[in-house]
Symmetry: C2
Subunit: 477 residues, 2 copies
């Protein structure tokens, strides 16, 4: 297998190759779409398992709405159609005929869901109403990149309706907190939580919260969002309820989503020159055992021992593969599993069996003198579990340290423009709140990632007006 492009100097090329080489995706004949292969999909299944439990914990129930939405629905909310109409795919013919009314393939499902909310919500007794669906969506993007921006992608979209703004806000923030936990506690990716500027909001939302991460190259990635849709959306679809006081009111809604983009975030946060590194909690395979032997007799005994160790590890809830492929050398196996980012490798040879030990190898350790350690077979479960925990924490710490070094304070655009241009990175600055100043960032390919709850900078980065809240500026994916 070819070695990967240099991760420091050719990050985009490194990304494209590492995801192909590790078998996460393949190209497809459909424009801007990729095939998610078994190893990539197994990561998504692990993410789904975590998020589905979080969603159900909030009392949200899964449903399924039709993928085809009458085109006219999109037009009912002005900003929504403005935001999505350039991106939709349109079905004009079906069943051998031209359709009288075309359908769009959902770019998101607010419109068709709110049409149902209008029928389902009559009284305060029907609230809160909390649903979610795991689906595919299509947004016809011009420039696509596997996982990060594709014409079709997979996601979950949660939609809730509440009697009060307070309750809707609490739910939107509760989901954001679940997402933060997913990112930090499972994916080992440190994130910033904050509100989007009006310019960066979801088309039609009143408030958009985001959680943002900084990739190795210093570019930001929007990891997911959570919105409050208080006014125009329910009104556009006639969603109203009779309150306890008898008045007719409009509910306060939320929607929130995470997508297969998170797999791209994992790759771009933790990978190194040898390929992927998977945080143990999300890794489809946490441990690979490589039995090593020269003679047929040795082979039988090391494979037996490897299977016994695998059984012990599985009993402890650890996801293990024993690589008994006879067509590959141990070296080729090491390379294969390193490039796939399996966090821990156990090597077992005849001498190890005599000494009742195994070699424990840490995927992320760069210091060769520390990468391998001998452990007693009697303690294999304990040692392996400890190393998995250590790696999970170390990956987060390493990403957090890198982010800290890339997160800078600045007062004026002129101060950070050239550094942003040359080295990327994230810049915390003051902002007057004006869209004109926000758009000035376009010249340096910067965007406002979010507002933060700090006020270190008292003046706008672009004008002389006062700043009440800092913003984070970065280039983004």
């Amino acid at each position: 297998m070819d070695s990967l492009p240099n991760i420091k100097t050719s990050f985009p090329e490194w990304y494209q190759e590492v995801i192909m080489q590790a078998g996460l995706v393949d190209t497809s004949p459909t424009r801007g779409c990729f095939i998610i292969k078994p190893y990539g999909f197994a990561i998504w299944e692990n993410i789904q398992r975590i998020v589905d439990a979080q969603i159900k914990q909030e009392g949200v129930e899964n449903v399924y709405f039709p993928m085809l939405i009458p085109e006219e629905f999109l037009r009912r909310e002005e900003k929504h159609i403005e935001g999505f109409s350039p991106e939709v795919a349109i079905v004009t013919h079906a069943g051998g005929k031209k359709l009288e009314e075309p359908y769009v393939i959902r770019p998101t499902s607010e419109t068709i869901i709110y049409e149902a909310f209008a029928r389902w919500i009559k009284s305060w007794r029907d609230l809160p109403l909390k649903i979610n669906q795991w689906t595919n969506v299509i947004r016809w993007e011009m420039r696509t990149r596997a996982f990060l921006r594709t014409t079709e992608f997979l996601w979950q979209e949660g939609h809730t309706a509440h009697a009060t703004h307070e309750e809707a806000k609490a739910l939107a923030l509760a989901m954001l907190e679940h997402y933060r936990q997913l990112a930090e506690d499972y994916l080992a990716i440190p994130v910033v939580i904050g509100e989007k500027t009006p310019h960066e909001r979801f088309p039609g939302a009143d408030t958009t919260y985001t959680f943002e991460a900084l990739m190795q190259d210093g570019k930001a990635l929007q990891m997911g969002t959570s919105h409050i849709l208080a006014q125009s959306f329910p009104a556009a679809f006639g969603v109203k309820f009779q309150a306890q006081d008898g008045t007719l009111q409009s509910p306060f809604c939320t929607s929130w989503a995470i997508t297969t983009r998170l797999i791209g975030a994992l790759v771009m946060t933790h990978g190194d020159q040898n390929g992927l590194i998977m945080p143990p909690k999300i890794a489809p395979t946490q441990v690979v055992i490589v039995p090593i032997s020269k003679t047929p007799e040795e082979k039988i005994s090391v494979i037996d021992a490897a299977m016994a160790v695998a059984k012990q590890l599985r009993a402890a809830g650890i996801r293990v593969v024993v690589d008994t492929d006879e067509t590959k050398t141990p070296g080729a196996k090491f390379y294969h599993w390193e490039s796939h980012g399996v966090p821990v490798r156990l090597e077992l040879g005849p001498k190890d069996l005599v000494a009742q030990q195994a070699v424990l190898v840490n995927r992320m350790e760069e210091d060769k003198t520390k990468k391998k350690t001998f452990i007693k077979l009697a303690a294999v479960v304990e040692e392996t579990a400890t190393l998995l925990n250590t790696i999970q924490k170390a990956l987060f710490d390493r990403a957090a340290a890198r982010r800290a070094s890339q997160w800078k304070q600045a007062d004026k655009l002129s101060e950070f423009a050239s550094q942003l241009d040359a080295d990327n990175g994230m810049y915390q600055v003051g902002w007057c709140g004006g869209e004109a100043c926000e758009l000035a960032l376009k010249e340096v390919k910067g965007t406002v990632r979010c507002l933060v709850n700090e006020n270190k900078h008292k003046t706008c980065f672009n004008c002389t007006s006062q700043s009440d809240r800092d913003i984070l500026v970065a280039k983004c994916y």
Copy 2:
């Protein structure tokens, strides 16, 4: 709530109403599509959990292929395009432009998957290749009915490639056996397994196996299928591999699927005049506890007791809801949960607490003197678990007995034509193997469900030729 149409005399109307009343589905603004509501989707999630484990047990891995397929792909396999072209939905515009080449929304994914197989399979070492995906598909059906036949539906589609026909057949039959277990052991629906006639095969398949059930009204429902695609399909997409002997060969493929239609099968097999009946193993809620009280003091103690019982049942792995809704009478609650098909109800009142007992109610029991029994609270877990097992078995036995009474032997079309017309039912007859005789069934709205491994009838039902294998004839959904 209104009572349901008569299940004996108005089965189709009963079906339409029971699925709406129980909150399985709702209508949608998209032609031929329904919204799957939380209770309906929870059944699908339970089916998914069972089938996903079966699939993985066969070494099949989950993947995701693009939903949009270049229209030209469908044309590559003659029978496939003939079968599906009248049913596809076509995307002609996207991203604000007319597309140079239109895409069809997958009616099934063989074509786009085989395009990848041609790239992935080079040598015998790449075989077997076994993948599956859980997706939505669209087939523009003329007459739709919720779950049974809808424009969009959810399914899993498995696709495998093997070096030998024997191995492909073994996999196709192994999945069929898993499906049979799903149907009989979980859904409590007795099924017949058999081969389809060439006329009824999946377009482009060499062999189609099916598993068929008979609904309460005596009409058959195809529950799912498993195909061998040996020749034309791999050839149409240039899927070839170098065998161990160095020759270039065409692999033997399989595909197999079950869909959300199985939810309709559950409803039509087990429901009664009071609504749904859910087999315990698939029921989203297996037990509902209804606390009954008159005074505020009583309320506290019965709810406490109900919660304690729920906790015990949950610890035993039983899915329980405690209905503490204060806006409903106990009678309204009984009605609600009966119509939703929850198999077991526990009633707890103040007198029961004094006697340290509860009332255990069996949803499927029609004899009122046997429907309710008093059980000791000390034995509540054991008694409830026993009743759940009893109901699971009794539902299967009841369906099997009904099927036996509707499964008839006949020699000639003239013998059974009028009974098929008037009462539906399934007729086991001889068949010469000729398509002309098969199509003669159209006149009586009959179809061949499958060939069976019996030879009770030595002559064709329609001509004087010899019959080597019996077929089953029925009207179908």
